[in-house]
C-alpha cells in the first residue's frame, strides 16, 4: 500500500465512472457513475494526506482530510439537487432517458 497504488485505484474508478457516464441513458444511472468519479477524487485527497505529494513542500495531512470533508459536503448538496430534478423530470415526462431530455436544446 503506497501512494502509487492508491492513485492507480482512484484512476481505475475514475475511468469506470467516465465510461458509465458516457454510456448510461438513464439519468439516475448517469448520476451514480458521477458518484464513482467523485469518489475517486476523494480517495486521491486522502491518499495525498497520508503519503504526502511528490512535490517539495510542507506536508499538511489536516488540510487533506478537511478538503475531503468539504468535498463530501458539496457532493451531498449536489446529489440532493440532482435527485430533486430527477423526481421533477419523472413527474413531468414519465421517463428519465437523457437523450429525450433536450428541452434546452435551441
Amino acid at each position: 500500500m503506497n501512494l502509487s497504488a492508491c492513485l492507480l485505484l482512484a484512476a481505475g474508478l475514475f475511468a469506470i465512472g467516465a465510461y458509465g457516464l458516457l454510456t448510461r441513458r438513464n439519468l439516475i444511472a448517469a448520476l451514480m457513475s458521477l458518484e464513482l468519479m467523485v469518489n475517486a477524487a476523494l480517495i486521491n485527497f486522502v491518499a495525498f494526506a497520508r503519503f504526502g505529494g511528490p512535490a517539495a513542500g510542507p506536508h499538511d495531512p489536516e488540510a487533506g482530510s478537511l478538503f475531503a470533508l468539504f468535498a463530501v459536503a458539496v457532493t451531498a448538496a449536489e446529489m440532493a439537487l440532482a435527485l430533486a430534478i430527477v423526481i421533477a423530470v419523472h413527474r413531468q415526462r414519465r421517463h428519465l432517458d437523457v437523450r429525450e431530455l433536450d428541452g434546452l436544446h435551441g
Binding site: 500500500m1 501512494l3 502509487s4 497504488a5 492508491c6 492513485l7 482512484a10 484512476a11 474508478l13 475514475f14 469506470i16 465512472g17 467516465a18 465510461y19 458509465g20 458516457l22 454510456t23 448510461r24 441513458r25 438513464n26 439516475i28 444511472a29 448520476l31 451514480m32 458518484e35 464513482l36 469518489n39 476523494l42 480517495i43 486522502v46 491518499a47 494526506a49 497520508r50 503519503f51 504526502g52 511528490p54 499538511d60 495531512p61 489536516e62 488540510a63 482530510s65 475531503a68 470533508l69 468539504f70 463530501v72 459536503a73 458539496v74 457532493t75 451531498a76 448538496a77 446529489m79 439537487l81 435527485l83 430533486a84 430534478i85 430527477v86 423526481i87 421533477a88 419523472h90 432517458d97
Partner: protein
C-alpha cells in the same frame, strides 16, 4: 497483511464499480455503488483517516445512497432492464475511459511510493482538525466552513422547491 487486505479491497471496489456501470438493472447498479462507497470507507480506515471514513459512511451511505435508492424505487419498475446503448457510443466511451486511465495511471506511477511515515497513527487527530476548521487565521478553514453551511441550506431549499409539484398544494 495490511497490503494484502488493501489489494483485496481495491479489487473488490473495481469489480463493484464495473457492476455499477454495467448492470442493466438499476437497483443492482445502486447496490454496486453502495459496495464501492463501503469499500472506500474501509480504504480510508486502512489509511488511518478515521474521521473521513466515518463521514463517508454517514453522509454517503446513510444519506446519499438512501436518496438514490428512493429515487430508483420512485421512478422505475424494479424488474426493468435499461436499454443497451449503441455500439458506436460504447466504443467512444471505452476510448475515453482508456485514455483517461492511461493518462491518470501514468501520473500515478510517476508519483512514486510517497513517504510511508507511521502507519499506526491517524492522519490527523480530531481535536486539531476541529480547531483548524474553525480557525480564521492563515491556514484556517473558517470561511469554507461557513460557506458550506450556506450552500447546504440553499441546496435544501432548492431541492424542495424543485421537487414539489407546482399545484400549490402543501408539499
Amino acid at each position: 497483511m495490511r497490503d494484502a487486505f488493501f489489494y483485496a479491497v481495491g479489487a473488490a471496489m473495481l469489480g463493484l464499480a464495473a457492476i455499477t456501470v454495467l448492470a442493466r438493472n438499476l437497483f443492482r447498479a445502486a447496490l454496486g455503488l453502495l459496495g464501492v462507497l463501503l469499500g472506500t470507507a474501509v480504504l480510508f480506515l486502512l489509511l488511518k483517516a478515521e474521521l473521513v471514513a466515518l463521514v463517508q459512511v454517514m453522509v454517503y451511505i446513510g444519506g446519499i445512497m438512501i436518496f438514490v435508492l428512493y429515487a430508483v424505487l420512485l421512478t422505475s419498475e424494479l424488474g426493468g432492464r435499461m436499454a443497451r446503448p449503441s455500439p458506436a457510443k460504447l466504443a467512444l466511451a471505452a476510448a475515453v475511459a482508456a485514455i483517461s486511465l492511461g493518462f491518470l495511471g501514468r501520473l500515478a506511477m510517476r508519483a512514486g511510493p510517497g513517504e510511508r511515515g507511521d502507519m499506526s497513527t491517524a492522519i490527523a487527530a480530531l481535536k486539531p482538525l476541529g480547531a483548524r476548521m474553525l480557525n480564521s487565521g492563515p491556514g484556517g478553514f473558517l470561511i469554507p466552513f461557513e460557506l458550506i453551511s450556506l450552500l447546504l441550506l440553499a441546496a435544501m431549499v432548492g431541492a424542495i422547491a424543485v421537487a414539489r409539484d407546482g399545484k400549490g398544494g402543501s408539499p
